[in-house]
Amino acid sequence: MTALLSVKNLTVEFTTRDGIAPVIDDLSFDLAPGETLSLVGESGCGKSMTALAIMGLIPSPPGRVASGSISLAGENLLQAGDTRMRAVRGNDISMVFQEPMTSLNPVFTVGEQISETLRRHQGLTRRQAKALSIEMLDAVQIPLPTRRINDYPHQLSGGMRQRVMIAMALACRPKVLIADEPTTALDVTVQAQIFDLMRAVGKETEAAIILITHDMGSVAEMAERVVVMYAGRKIEEGCVDDILARPRHPYTRGLIACVPHLLETVSAERPYLQEIPGMVPPLSDFGFMGCLFAPRCDRVETRCWQEKPKVTQITPSQSAACWNLQEAKVRVDA
């Protein structure tokens, strides 16, 4: 596959009170055209920072890209200037944030905001932009779009606001859509609508999607491939079905096993959940020379405290960074 977006050995450093720490530590992954990739991990693992790095929006100070490259269709975005990055953000890559209220401007109607994006990036006239805005609200299933374009963000429900954000993000038919926990604040029935919408418009516009989430269920339902992050590092990567059936990194396994997944049929039996003891380390500990998961790991060995785990290529599509990989579970059913 030829990558549309390629992140190579990316390191982003933050200056904190305790010194300099890598929020993103030597991260590499590829995104193919039209594919849906998920970034998954607990909060504070660097998922949002990865998204902001791709958008060229790392807050600076305290942050800065220390090394690595991010290329979109061959162009290294880290070398691009401000003007070029603004154009990239409008036309090639766009992002949907977790809380749509904070990313919509409260003093403009949703119609004005979508039109503005269209006029700025596609040079449409006011009338063309308005007509297209209505069409787009209709496409994201907002009822009565001719009326709704005159609404202010606070007049819409959370689900409708997120749909407006998706409409705006897709207004210029980007090649890459980054959705950072787009449904965390929404009810499940509305989440299902948003996911359906993302799938449909993704297919329609052939945009590749990066879905950031902490929920393995969403990963299973939405993505083809998944990158698991822990404390700024990629610790496992692979096709979703492989990772769910045969997670090889202890953290990935824990992340799947600790959640009470909704089951199709329940019996009277109810075992305790598998716990991941402890929690994600603070940023000041990121960049530690050993394995950052060691304090929480049930397979830890001496070496784990001393050396950064080497990446093992398990299959052509699955890899993990661990000194003591979990055995692939052997299925015992006849």
């Binding site: 009810d187 299973a220 600790c258 959640v259 009470p260 329940v266």
Partner: protein, 333 residues
């Protein structure tokens, strides 16, 4: 004759409970509007069990819980705990009854007083309710720290020196300090990371077994509800639409809303994903102030019929432990 005989093991019963809020009038001439956040809820919770309440945002879960704890006025109906009529209690009697009922909140950040040391927070219900002698209270606090998995050397720290999960443990220690029979948990793990969520859910289950606690457990996460609860009530716009024991509710959900809710949950369980009978419901819940007549779910129900927009379906038993409010589901016998 009441049609649901009170079982000897029942701890808490709610009869036709209503909680309404009067909203500020929108203009000088408008009538002040009434929002029925909880509308005629009848429930019973058995001793030592977990009653789950699940529903979307705004369905009335928290309002119901606050009403049971007498932290909000009840507009209509009756609540009994251990045979005591809670709504008739005043002053001293109410305070005494409160020790049997405690609350665990969603947000471990704002629910603890930031200026008090952890030990003081945990000890507060013992002091307030004058439980045990002063010296015995110190022992009790140490014991509580052990029980919830906090170290004794953490007793003198302040809330901001703990992680979210640890703060939730402090909240749990405070809740069980007075040896309550009932603990109401309102979204106790929603603000926590999944790894920490598992620790807290396991702790709650272990404490239930050790101390014989009864839980009312509120969550919007159906996986968590399925894992934790013995009986589940599904709420929508202030009403219970379905209530059943765990196996009946999840294996044979009857109400169209429950079915849609379950099928909307994205799942890592391959059996669920392979099945592919997704029931999509469109739109958002209706405006709670201007509720149309008839079934609350009618505006989003894939099976809606004309009568649904006229008559409100009553919550009826379809078998001993399964109640449903839908015109399409037949009552037992």
């Amino acid at each position: 004759m009441p049609d649901t005989p009170v079982e000897s093991t029942t701890l808490l019963t709610l009869q036709d409970v209503e909680v309404s809020f009067t909203l500020k009038r929108s203009s000088l001439f408008a009538k002040p509007s009434l929002l029925r956040a909880v509308d005629g809820v009848t429930l019973s919770v058995r001793k030592g069990q977990t009653m789950g309440i699940v529903g979307e945002s705004g369905s009335g879960k928290t309002t119901l819980a606050l009403a049971v704890a007498r932290l909000l006025p009840v507009t209509r109906g009756q609540i009994h705990m251990n045979g005591v009529d809670l709504l008739s209690l005043r002053g001293e009697a109410l305070r005494n009854e409160r020790r049997h009922m405690q609350f665990i909140f969603q947000d471990p950040y704002s629910s603890l007083n930031p200026r008090l040391r952890a030990e003081k927070i945990v000890r507060e219900p013992l002091d307030r309710l004058s439980i045990a002698s002063t010296s015995r209270r110190d022992d009790r606090v140490r014991e509580l720290f052990d029980q919830v998995g906090l170290r004794r050397d953490q007793q003198r720290l302040f809330p901001h020196q703990f992680s979210g999960g640890q703060r939730q443990r402090i909240g749990i220690a405070r809740a069980i300090a007075s040896n309550p029979s009932l603990v109401i948990c309102d979204e106790p793990v929603s603000a926590l990371d999944v790894g920490v969520q598992a620790q807290i859910l396991n702790l709650l289950r272990r404490l239930q077994e050790e101390l014989g606690l009864t839980y009312v457990f509120i969550s919007h996460d159906l996986g968590v509800i399925q894992h934790m609860c013995d009986t589940i009530a599904v709420m929508y716009m202030g009403k219970i639409l379905e209530e059943a024991d765990r196996e009946s509710l999840f294996n044979t959900p009857k109400h169209p809303y429950t079915q849609a809710l379950l099928s909307a949950v994205p799942s890592a369980d391959i059996n669920r994903r392979n099945r592919e009978r997704r029931i999509m419901i469109s739109g958002d819940p209706p405006n709670p102030i201007h509720l149309p007549p008839g079934c609350r779910f009618a505006s989003r129900c894939p099976q809606v019929e004309d009568r649904c927009r006229v008559d409100t379906p009553p919550l009826v038993n379809i078998d001993r432990h399964h109640r449903v409010a839908c015109h399409l589901v037949k009552a037992a016998g």
